[in-house]
C-alpha cells in the first residue's frame, strides 16, 4: 500500500514536470527571446501559460501534502536536511507566480506583451530569473535525495549536503529538460495560431534544448557512478526504461525535424515522463538514501488506506476538470485573443 502512495507521488511529480515544468521552461524562453520575433515569442508564452499556471503548480502541493500524510518522518527529515534549497525553491515559485500575474496587470507590462515592446519589463525579468532558478533547485533537491549524503539525524549542516557537483548537475539537467519541453509545446501553440515563422523560432530552440538535455543526461548518468551509486545501479538494472526513453527522445527529434509538432509534443512528454520514472525506479524502494525506505517511513495502514481512497476520488474529480480546462484553451481551434486585463 505504501508503494501505491509512493507511486501516486511519483505520478504527481511527473504531471508537475509536464505542466508546471513546462511553465518554468516558458519562463526561460521568455528571457532568452531574441531576434525580430521576440515580442511575439513573449506574447505567445504569456498566452500559453495564462489560464493554466495556477492549476499546474498545485501538483507540487499535492506531492508535499501526500508526503507528509503518508511518510511523515521522511518528510520531516528531508525538510530538515534540505531546508535551504527548499526555501529557495519556494521563494522562486512565489516570485514567479507573482511576477507573472503582476506583469499581466501592470500597465507597462500589459502594453509590452501585447503591442510588442522591445524589452521585457521589470516583472518579466523577475519572472524569468525565478523560472530558471526553480527547476535548478528542484533538481538539486532530487539529486541530494539520491546521493546518499543526507542523514536523518539532522547532522547535515546547511549547505554541505546539496551544494555539490552532483545535485547541481541534476539541477541543470532539470532546467534543460523543462526548457526543451516548453519549446516543443510552444511550437504547437505557434503553429495552431497560424504563425509559421514563430513556430520555426521555437523549433530551433526545441532542437537546441534537445541536444543540451541529451548531453546533460549523459553527464548525469556517468557521474552517478561516483556520486549516486543507487542511480547508477538502478538505471543499469532497469535499462528497459532508459531504452524506451531513448526511443522517445529519438522520435521527438525526428518529429521536430520534420515539423510534425503535435506528435512531437507527445514524444517529448513521454521522454520527460520516462526520465522521472527512471529516477523513481532506480531509487526504489528508498525515499531518502540511506535512511528511509518507502515501507519503513510509511504511516500506519489506516492512514494509507484513506489517502489512497482520497487520491482515487480526487482523481475522478480532477482529471475531467483538467481536461475541460485544457480543452477550453488549447483546443484545435486557432487561438483567439484571450481576454486580457
Amino acid at each position: 500500500m505504501a508503494d501505491v502512495v509512493a507511486a501516486a507521488m511519483l505520478g504527481a511529480l511527473i504531471l508537475y514536470a509536464l505542466t508546471g515544468g513546462a511553465d518554468f521552461g516558458g519562463g526561460v524562453w521568455d528571457l532568452l527571446a531574441t531576434g525580430p520575433l521576440r515580442a511575439k515569442q513573449r506574447a505567445a508564452i504569456d498566452r500559453a501559460i495564462g489560464p493554466i499556471w495556477e492549476a499546474n503548480h498545485v501538483w507540487l502541493i499535492l506531492v508535499v501534502t501526500v508526503m507528509f500524510t503518508g511518510f511523515p518522518r521522511a518528510f520531516a527529515a528531508i525538510a530538515n536536511a534540505l531546508h535551504v534549497p527548499l526555501l529557495l525553491l519556494l521563494l522562486a515559485i512565489v516570485m514567479r507566480g507573482a511576477a507573472f500575474t503582476f506583469r499581466h496587470y501592470d500597465r507597462g507590462g500589459a502594453r509590452g506583451t501585447r503591442a510588442g515592446a522591445r524589452t521585457p519589463n521589470r516583472w518579466g525579468i523577475a519572472f524569468s530569473i525565478a523560472s530558471i532558478a526553480a527547476p535548478i533547485l528542484l533538481g538539486v533537491v532530487i539529486g541530494a535525495l539520491v546521493s546518499g549524503e543526507l542523514r536523518a539525524n539532522a547532522s547535515n549542516g546547511w549547505i554541505e549536503p546539496w551544494a555539490r557537483r552532483w545535485p547541481l548537475l541534476v539541477g541543470l539537467f532539470t532546467l534543460a529538460l523543462f526548457s526543451y519541453l516548453a519549446a516543443v509545446y510552444l511550437c504547437v501553440e505557434a503553429k495552431e495560431s497560424g504563425d509559421a515563422e514563430l513556430a520555426e523560432a521555437f523549433r530551433r530552440r526545441a532542437m537546441g534544448a534537445w541536444v543540451a538535455s541529451g548531453v546533460l543526461s549523459l553527464f548525469v548518468f556517468l557521474q552517478s557512478r561516483m556520486h549516486a551509486q543507487r542511480v547508477w545501479d538502478g538505471l543499469r538494472a532497469r535499462w528497459m526504461i532508459v531504452a524506451v526513453a531513448g526511443v522517445a527522445a529519438a522520435l521527438a527529434i525526428g518529429l521536430l525535424w520534420t515539423r510534425r509538432y503535435r506528435v512531437a509534443r507527445f514524444a517529448a512528454a513521454a521522454q520527460v515522463a520516462l526520465v522521472v520514472i527512471g529516477w523513481g525506479a532506480s531509487q526504489h524502494p528508498w525515499l531518502m538514501v540511506p535512511d528511509f525506505t518507502i515501507g519503513g517511513a510509511a504511516a500506519p495502514p489506516a492512514t494509507l488506506r484513506l489517502l489512497i481512497g482520497a487520491l482515487l476520488v480526487g482523481s475522478i474529480l480532477l482529471f475531467p476538470s483538467l481536461w475541460i480546462l485544457f480543452r477550453s484553451f488549447k483546443g484545435a481551434r486557432p487561438f483567439s485573443p484571450v481576454d486580457d486585463a
Binding site: 495556477e54 501534502t65 507528509f68 511523515p72 531546508h83
Partner: protein, 420 residues
C-alpha cells in the same frame, strides 16, 4: 509561521468569498440580462485574479513551511492530521482549474457553463477553508489516536481526527468570518468610490449586494461565536480563562468588557463587569463554575494580556459591523443607501472584518500556547532546530510585505483606472 498565516488568511478569506460575489453578479446578469451586473462581475474578476494568484502562492509557502519550520510536528502527527491538508490540496486544485476557466473563458465557453464554473470556484474555496479549519480544530482538541511510547501516536484514525469535538462551531465561525470580512471590505471600496464622485449604477448595486451578505453574516456571527465560546469552555478552559481575564476560579463569574489583565497581580483591571455574565455565556447557567487560570500551572499560562485584548478587539469589531449593517438596512428601506454619512460609516468599518479575523486567530492560537497540540505537544518541542532560523523568518516577512504592497498597489491602480 504566524506571519505567513496572518498574511495568508487575508488572501484566503478573499479567495473564499470573492468568487461568491462574482458568481452572484453573473447570475443576476443571466437572470435579468442587465449589463450592469456583467460589468460588475468582470470588474471584480480582475481584482480576484490578482488576489488569487497571491493567495495561491502564499498557500504553497504554507505547505512548505509546515515541513520547514515544524518538522517535529509533521513527523509525529502527519499520519493523524495530514489527511485534511491533502484534501484541501484537491479542493484548491479544483478551484484553480475552474477559476482559470472563469477568468479567461468569458467568451470561450457557453454562458451556463461559465456560471457553473464560478459556482464551482465558490464551492471549492469554501471546501478548502473547511478542510484546513478541521486541522486547526484538531490541534485544539486532539483525538483519533492512541498515545504511544515516546510520544508517537498509535492507531491513527484520520477520520475521527478530522471531526474532532467543536469542528462544526469553528468551521462555521471561520467561514462566516471570510464572507463577512470580504463583504465589508468590498463595500468600503465601493462606498469610497461613490463618495469620490463615481456615478455608475455599478457601485450602488455592489454596495447593496455586499452589505446584504455582510450584514447577514454579521448578525449570525455572534451566535456562532457563542457556540464557539461554549465549545472552548468545555475543551480548553485555560484559553477561555485567558481570553476573559479570569484569574480565579469562581461560580457566577462576571463577563468582563474591556479591561487589562495584570498577570503579576492576577486580576483584570478597568473592566466593565457584568455579574454572572461569563457563566451565563460560557455554560448557559448563571451560577456555573468557570475555571480560572489558578487551575493551570503557571508555566502553562498563555499570554493572557494579548489573548484578552485581542478578544475584546474582535468582539468590538463585530459589534461595529452589526451596527453599520442595521443602519444600512434601515437606510436602504428609506431609499437612502448612498447617504454620505452612511457611506463614511461603511468606509470606516470596512477594514474591521479583517481586523477581527486577525484578532480572532491571535486569540485561538496564542490562547492555546504553550501547546501546539492541546495538552499533548508543546510548541517548543515541535519547532525546527535549524540554526539561523531568523534568516528564514525575515526572508518570509520580506516576501509577504512585498507581495502585499504590490498587490495593494496594483489593485489601487486597477480601481483608479476604471471609469464610472
Amino acid at each position: 509561521m504566524g506571519v505567513s498565516l496572518a498574511f495568508h488568511i487575508v488572501f484566503a478569506a478573499i479567495g473564499v468569498a470573492l468568487p461568491l460575489f462574482m458568481t452572484i453578479a453573473e447570475w443576476r446578469h443571466q437572470r435579468t440580462g442587465d449589463p450592469v451586473w456583467r460589468e460588475l462581475a468582470r470588474r471584480w474578476s480582475k481584482g480576484t485574479a490578482i488576489l488569487f494568484a497571491v493567495g495561491a502562492v502564499s498557500g504553497t509557502v504554507l505547505s512548505f513551511e509546515l515541513g520547514l519550520l515544524w518538522p517535529e510536528f509533521m513527523a509525529v502527527w502527519g499520519s493523524v492530521i495530514g489527511f485534511p491538508f491533502a484534501l484541501e490540496g484537491f479542493a484548491f486544485f479544483t478551484e484553480a482549474i475552474f477559476l482559470g476557466i472563469w477568468l479567461y473563458g468569458w467568451d470561450r465557453v457557453p454562458p451556463r457553463f461559465h456560471l457553473f464554473a464560478g459556482a464551482v470556484v465558490a464551492a471549492s474555496g469554501a471546501a478548502s477553508a473547511f478542510f484546513v479549519t478541521l486541522a486547526n480544530v484538531w490541534m485544539n482538541s486532539p483525538v483519533g489516536f492512541t498515545p504511544g511510547p515516546g510520544g508517537m501516536p498509535l492507531d491513527p484514525d484520520p477520520v475521527a481526527a478530522m471531526f474532532a469535538p467543536g469542528w462544526a462551531e469553528e468551521v462555521t465561525h471561520v467561514l462566516l468570518s471570510s464572507y463577512q470580512a470580504t463583504a465589508f471590505a468590498m463595500a468600503g471600496v465601493h462606498a469610497l468610490l461613490i463618495l469620490r464622485g463615481r456615478t455608475s449604477e455599478i457601485h450602488r448595486r455592489a454596495l447593496a449586494l455586499t452589505l446584504t451578505v455582510g450584514g447577514v453574516c454579521a448578525l449570525l456571527q455572534p451566535i456562532s461565536g457563542d457556540f464557539s465560546a461554549r465549545s472552548v469552555a468545555r475543551k480548553q478552559p485555560a484559553k477561555l480563562a485567558a481570553l476573559e481575564g479570569q484569574f480565579e476560579t469562581e461560580r457566577g463569574a462576571p463577563l468582563r468588557i474591556g479591561g487589562m489583565p495584570d498577570v503579576e497581580r492576577r486580576e483584570t483591571r478597568f473592566a466593565i463587569e457584568i455579574p454572572h455574565g461569563l457563566s451565563l455565556l460560557a455554560f448557559h447557567d448563571p451560577n456555573a463554575e468557570v475555571r480560572g487560570l489558578d487551575q493551570v500551572p503557571r508555566e502553562d499560562w498563555p499570554d493572557v494580556r494579548t489573548v484578552h485584548v485581542c478578544f475584546q478587539i474582535m468582539v468590538a469589531c463585530g459589534v461595529a459591523m452589526v451596527a453599520v449593517s442595521l443602519a444600512s438596512a434601515w437606510a436602504w428601506r428609506k431609499g437612502k443607501l448612498t447617504h454620505p454619512l452612511l457611506l463614511k460609516a461603511i468606509v470606516a468599518v470596512s477594514p474591521l472584518g479583517f481586523v477581527a479575523i486577525e484578532a480572532g486567530w491571535m486569540v485561538t492560537e496564542k490562547g492555546r500556547q504553550p501547546w501546539i497540540v492541546q495538552s499533548v505537544m508543546r510548541t517548543s518541542d515541535a519547532a525546527t532546530e535549524m540554526p539561523g532560523l531568523a534568516i528564514t523568518f525575515w526572508a518570509t516577512v520580506a516576501v509577504y510585505l512585498f507581495l502585499g504592497a504590490v498587490s495593494a498597489w496594483l489593485l489601487t491602480r486597477l480601481i483608479e483606472e476604471t471609469r464610472g
